[in-house]
């Protein structure tokens, strides 16, 4: 008599017994009869459409491989088909947890190719934006990591502050998640009156919250059991897999682009770069907690140092004409029309501009052939490298540890797949 299982395999076209042949190929995950589970692309622990196929022995992951590309939108190709101005909105959708950071890095990349200097106020504003984005991103990473390990309240404490930060960002540009706040050579709007004061008040509140979050979990025994020594990725591994950002610093790689290659005014503000040693989930958590505190310090300093002034560069090539000029003069209207329809030409050349993103090194490599569209656009999203490290990281660990590891390296699918 045919069993139910046979019926199912037959209906799936797997009825043939040769499908179950054992090849003893060590690289073939589907070989032999161990339980193979498909974690993702729709799985509550997978942040975004990521997929891991894992061969289990009991609860231990013996072998696994990761797949991505489920949210691929051909961002880099779009960069070759959109004008430099139009591409700003696409940068939001890279790491959507810290969209401002991508906006700023992209604007800097194009400005560098064109040799444009932006006014001081814009630079300070961009620094505040970068650090706000970093705080938001770290809150998400810390929170989601805790949710995956069952500590839900911790996540919501951070999320409350994150929502407040989004309200601040909303006051800047009208959008919360996909900000598109920067323009080549300036910003979309200046910060509204009294915005700096609100930011400083938020910083003061957030300091208390991050302190509370720190106290809640750092000394919690169960949290330590779940994270210390779990998914260790040491210095060598990090080098091998080109890790950057907090994940590399958790393994002891003393590297922070804000300090080592200071762009904007990072050399004028004081901050520490937290370093940990072991490169386990707990160290990544600690580094992120400390980085939030440092970022809050930077935001407070920037708010103090930001002076009133123009936010647009004087360069006529990139400056979007003011609305009263557009509406009242013929030249202004033509300028406006030409700017948005054909865009501005970027001189021939190529440049790779990096910035310390929340997750690591965010870079834009742009090759220009003198046209209003990039000839080649390449984006470095740190998640690509981090995600490749997941497979060796979780080998021999439990399923629960895999979830902890994935949460701790903060894979953002938008940046991973681009």
């Amino acid at each position: 008599m045919e069993t139910r299982a046979e019926k199912i395999t037959e209906s799936l076209g797997l009825g043939n017994s040769q499908h179950y042949n054992i090849t003893h190929d060590p690289d073939d995950i589907w070989d032999d009869s161990r339980v193979i589970i498909n974690i993702g692309p729709t799985h509550p622990a997978m942040h975004g459409a990521l997929r891991m196929v894992a061969k289990l022995n009991g609860e231990t992951i013996e072998k696994s491989y990761c797949m991505f590309g489920y949210t691929h939108r051909a961002k880099e190709k779009l960069g070759e088909n959109r004008t430099y101005h139009q591409f700003v909105v696409y940068t939001d959708r890279l790491n959507y947890c810290s969209a401002l950071n991508n906006n700023v890095t992209y604007a800097m990349a194009v400005e560098r190719l064109m040799g444009i200097q932006v006014p001081d106020r814009t630079v300070w504003l961009r620094m505040i934006c970068c650090e706000l984005a970093r705080v938001i991103d770290h809150f998400i990473c810390l929170g989601i990591n805790a949710v995956d390990l069952g500590a839900f309240s911790f996540f919501l404490y951070g999320f409350h502050q994150r929502e407040e930060a989004y309200t601040l960002i909303e006051k800047l540009c009208g959008a919360r998640l996909t900000t598109s706040y920067t323009r080549i050579g300036g910003m979309m709007h200046d910060a509204p009156e009294g915005w700096e004061k609100e930011v400083k008040a938020w910083v003061a509140r957030t300091r208390k919250v991050i302190q509370e979050m720190d106290e809640l979990l750092t000394t919690n025994k169960i949290w330590r059991q779940r994270t210390v020594g779990v998914a260790v990725f040491d210095k060598e591994d990090c080098m091998k897999y080109s890790f950057s950002g907090p994940n590399a610093r958790a393994a002891g790689i003393d590297h922070d682009l804000r300090r080592d290659q200071p762009n904007m005014f990072y050399k004028d503000v004081e901050f520490d770069v937290p370093i940990a040693k072991n490169g386990d989930v707990f160290d990544r958590y600690l580094v992120r907690i400390e980085e939030v505190k440092q970022s809050l310090n930077i935001i407070a300093q920037c708010c103090d140092k930001m002076k009133k002034g123009p936010i647009w560069t004087e360069d006529k090539r990139v400056r979007i004409p003011d609305k009263d000029v557009v509406h009242n003069t013929m030249e202004g209207l033509i300028h406006h029309f030409k700017f948005f329809m054909t865009g501005f030409d970027v001189p021939e050349g190529e440049a790779y501009t990096v910035n310390e993103g929340a997750n690591g090194e965010v870079g834009f490599y742009i090759v220009s052939k003198g046209a209003p569209r990039a000839h080649r656009m390449r984006i470095r999203g740190p998640s690509v490298w981090h995600f490749q490290g997941l497979t060796p990281m979780v080998e021999g660990e439990k399923i629960g540890d895999m979830v902890a590891a994935l949460g701790s390296i903060n894979i953002i699918a938008g940046e991973l797949d681009r």
């Binding site: 589970i37 622990a45 069952g150 309240s153 919501l156 919690n220 169960i222 779940r226």
Partner: protein, 370 residues
């Protein structure tokens, strides 16, 4: 109990008690769902559901209607009979455990003694242990019948966890049994009304927590594990194995699993209160209040007794309610263990400690200290 000698009133009492308990237990579920939602909101700086009814109290009703009116969907790849049976097997043992828990002292009415307890079994505690073990069958069955790898992993975790922690639970109970020299819960509660130490005017009662502090912690931890609540919610750890054993269940079948969880929470809380906090013994001050009222109103014996029963039920409810709140409180505060750490804690720490506790209790009893 001699069934032949029972008259009409005896039968009514005999049948009313289980029905009453079942109805009360069913009411615990919506209330606890509400407490869980509002309680978690309180802990997390949120408001929680507050739209339906006063303070959102009718939210649970809306949930129940949703559960019942949803399509009763059965996936094509499950093993039908066992799939249907599993939720029932999860809920029924949870109800059954409550049968032996006394929720008020005896009441003498017209020469009849009424026990506020569905069944005053002479095996008491042993009955509880045997019935709670049954719940694991429902979970294993659900995982196996679902024909899903995540569900199977969840039920495997659950069975391993429940079996490991049942040992600790049983051994922790041995200490209580030794101390009060009885396995009947009514006797254990009565034993806890004795005075342990007299401190001037205040008499410290011989509560389970005072004579069995280690046993109390072991038992409480084991109850948390038995009910699959955080930090021991591995069988359904949503981030790891999606939803564990009830992954393939929807509508009221899922609702039954949830009911089972809340009812076993209620039973666990009732057990903790009964074994370690004097059960229906009145809260401090209530005895005095009762005496005052009886004296002031010059109540006859029957009415005084009825008032006493009321106070006792209130005390029992308050104690149980506190422990139910603790379940909620813990869930929203701490992270969950990993599977192997849970096993280590159960076998390498709690089991030896529970054994040592038995020896220590024996030594104390031998010396006549408790």
């Amino acid at each position: 109990m001699n069934l032949a000698a029972m008259d009409m009133i005896d039968w009514v009492i005999f049948l009313a008690k289980p029905v009453l308990i079942c109805v009360i237990m069913l009411q615990v579920v919506p209330i606890m769902v509400w407490v869980e939602r509002r309680g978690s909101a309180l802990i997390q700086n949120r408001l929680g559901p507050n739209r339906i009814g006063p303070l959102g109290l009718l939210q649970s009703l809306a949930d129940a209607i949703k559960m019942m009116t949803k399509e009763d969907f059965i996936p094509g790849h499950v093993m039908g009979f066992y799939y249907q049976l599993a939720p029932v097997l999860c809920v029924v043992p949870a109800f059954m455990t409550f049968a032996v828990i006394p929720f008020a002292g005896n009441l003498v009415m017209d020469g009849r003694t009424i026990h506020f307890q569905a069944a005053d079994l002479n095996v008491g505690v042993l009955y509880i242990l045997s019935i709670t073990s049954l719940a694991v069958y429902g979970i294993i069955m659900a995982g196996w019948a679902s024909n899903n790898k995540y569900a199977l992993l969840g039920s495997l975790r659950s069975s391993a966890q429940m079996i490991s922690y049942e040992l600790t639970m049983g051994l922790a109970l041995v200490g209580i049994i030794m101390t009060f020299s009885s396995v009947q819960l009514a006797d254990i509660v009565a034993g806890q009304s004795q005075t342990l130490i007299q401190l001037g005017p205040i008499a410290i009662p011989k509560l389970g927590i005072f004579v069995q502090p280690i046993g109390f912690f072991l038992f409480t931890t084991a109850v948390f594990a038995e009910t699959n609540r955080l930090p021991f919610d591995l069988p359904e750890g949503e981030s790891e194995i999606v939803a564990g054993y009830h992954l393939e269940y929807s509508s009221m079948k899922f609702g039954l699993f949830m009911m089972g969880e809340y009812i076993s929470m209620a039973v666990g809380s009732a057990l903790i209160s009964t074994l370690y906090f004097g059960g229906f013994q009145m809260l401090p001050g209530m005895g005095w209040l009762h005496g005052q009222i009886v004296q002031a109103a010059a109540l006859p014996q029957l009415q005084a007794d009825l008032l006493r029963v009321g106070f006792e039920i209130a005390s029992f409810t308050a104690k149980t309610g506190f422990w139910l709140w603790t379940f909620v409180w813990v869930r929203w505060t701490i992270p969950r263990f990993r599977y192997d750490q849970l096993m280590d804690l159960g076998w390498k720490f709690m089991l030896p400690v529970a054994l040592l506790n038995i020896f220590a209790t024996g030594f104390f009893i031998y010396k006549g200290w408790i």
